[in-house]
Amino acid sequence: MMEAFLSHPIPLGEQGFRQEIWETRQPVFSDDVYSDPRFNFELFRTFRHQSGLVLPLLLDDSVAGAFYFAWWKAKKVFTRRELELAENVAAQVTMVLRHARLFERADREWRQLQVLFDALDREGAREHGFHACLGVPLQIQGQILGCLNVYAKVRRKFSPEDISLLSVLGDQAALAIHKAQLYEETRAQKEEATKLYGITAHLATTLDVDSVLDQVVAKTIDLLGCDASAVYVHDEARGGLVVRRGRHLDPAIVRDLVLKPGEGVAGRAYQERRPVSTADRLADPALRYQTDHDRLIQSAPRAYLAVPVSVRDEVLGVLVCYYFAAHQFSAKEAQLLSSLAAHAAIAMDNARHHQAVMLQQNRLSQIFDATSDGMLLVSPAGRVETANRRAGDLLAIKASDLVGNELTEVLAWHRAEGADYRRMFSALRSLVQHQEDAAEGDLELRSLKRILHWVSQPTRDRAGEHCGYTLTFHDVTHEREVSQMKSDFVSFVTHQLRTPLAGIKWMLELAAQEPEVPADAASYIGDAREADPAPDHARERAARHLPAGARQAHGVDPAGGSRDHDPRGARGDRRPRAGAPASGLRLHRGSPAPRGARRRAAAPPGGHEPGLERDQVHPGRRGHRGPVRAGRRHAALVHPRQRHRHPALFPGAAVREVLPGREREHARDRGHRPRVLPRAPDHGAARRPRLVRVGGGRGLDLPLHAAARGARRVTSGRRVLLGDRVAGILEG
């Protein structure tokens, strides 16, 4: 038992009760040692017991050590008497310790005197004819460095002045020797620092962890003068510590040795997170290895010093230095190896972070290059910092050639003419100057016959500071072409519809001006002129079937509402940046204009003033002026049930609609057409359902929808059906 105790020295510097003893110099007691954190060190874990008492050994008013009492199973409770007894025992131990120290001091001084005595070398002096000799010790700070002797060939006695003079010379000599020793230590420390600096400098120049670790193991041998060294790391796949880099070791050890945490010196240093050494593994019973390592260990060195390679409380590995013969390691060696281990830790940590960053960067790079949109990262100064492959494709410039150029220069390469370039440059300058705002627009590259929709988003760093912006490009050429084709088609159809109707209208206007027109004919002409030509009706139907882009191109709000409301405003994520003409780069204005702001004074009848917007086109239809505020487009979109709100649009409407608008639309979608039920069977019943008679008794048969929209007088009141539902009542 005692042998086992002696082989497990209590490392006082690492014990929980150390500080308590040093500060209070009072006993420390626990009746549950195993679970008491103050007693949490290996000795108590190895020899489990119930109660313990630590008594400080006070020597010359300082704590020289501790005396420990253990109770294996009893939960000990002390009486005052027992405690005094224990303290007396500790005092006796202290006395023994004091005597031991005094003996040690006396022995040291005796040996120093022996050195002096030997230095006098009386026999030698006699052989050289010397008869008198005086020696003084070379002593500094209580330490004997040597002695200074003077001899005389005549017999004489040395006076006190002689002794004093020689003592002074001895002190000077001791001081010189001491300085020489200090100089040598300083030089050695400088050499160590230089070598450590070499490793540090190497750390700064490479992220190759193996290269740095090779430096560390080489410098370990160089600085410590050991025979071999190695860096172990934990390998999850192999389930233990393996040699990552080694020097002067048996290749079989480097290749095959796998140490479990706690196994051998390196395993213990890894597990206990502290330097561990053995002066001779063959004489160290505390070292344990797995049996299957016996063959490998036979070729291993004999003396080991291992220190953990750790960073931020995480142990990354172990640095070990070896001697092939038994060697007692000093604290200085442990300190030096720890410095080298710190360098290894930095190298491994850097490499680990670098690998993580590279992996992340590689993933982001793949995503960046694989995205279907072109992306540019632009610096606050407007310089392209990064471009993905798609951006190069869209701009017809190699992506790597984009990087480093001014964005305005890049886009100017595609300019078609000076005016476009100036507009584009102006817009981009606005973008650069107000780059903290998001923006979007279209970029027309005429040389490539390509239209790109771009979106700009500010980029911010982790501190939230603006550090540039990201430009995303999406090719909308095909979408714009399709939209333009639809728009052109509708424009053409509208033109073809309008032309004959305008001719009829103008002819009727001329006819109405003839003075000799009979009253009946004048009435017909008047009714016909008041009947609205078809384009509005056609527009309304077209608006229901056209895509949003084409509807917008023809003045119909895609959302079904007034164009005064800007639908982009609802997104709320696009703020106004700058305006630009239609060609080149166009910047949308993100904020919706105030309602009514875009309304202007009515244009001249039927005319279209230059510079006015579509909303301001006057309907130009007789009887529909005045209350109409937003133009004909609104009239075309008024829901039938809302017609009472627009009396001027439907003067004298004679159809009282009873079928809800939505059901009426569904009926039409199912192919039903309006038909009018006859009041009573008559001869024209087969023909009448599709026509109604308007214009009083003289009558004019018109299609039902025309009558519904404009007839003032309806001769008969009959039900109008859509499918099997009553859609309205014609009131005579």
Partner: protein, 128 residues
Amino acid sequence: MGDAVRRVLLAEDDRFLRKAAETALKRHGFTVVAAVDGEEALRLARAAPPDLVLLDLIMPRMQGFEVLRALKADPATAPIPVVILSNLGQDGDMKQAMDAGAAGYFVKANLSLQDLVKRVGELVAERA
């Protein structure tokens, strides 16, 4: 209407529209020279520059835009006000016409003859 007889060149390929507009303008004292296509309109304008040109856009042989650009490119005809009289009503058409130098743009379907005569009279009077 001023005392001087004003001369209007009407370029319109549609027979009914041409006849209606010509009749209305003549009734109000204008002298109307009619052209049935773009080439004829350009030739007539160069031969005897009118006080005003009413120009349709979609015409055979030469489109209205081409006629407009040719008139404005020729120093002899450039000062003549050209008013587009078309059934094309898109913003792009209007902007293109105004950029090319048109003095006005009327959509026929939205215009009565009375209004047409009134506006023509105003434009001619402004020029005088």
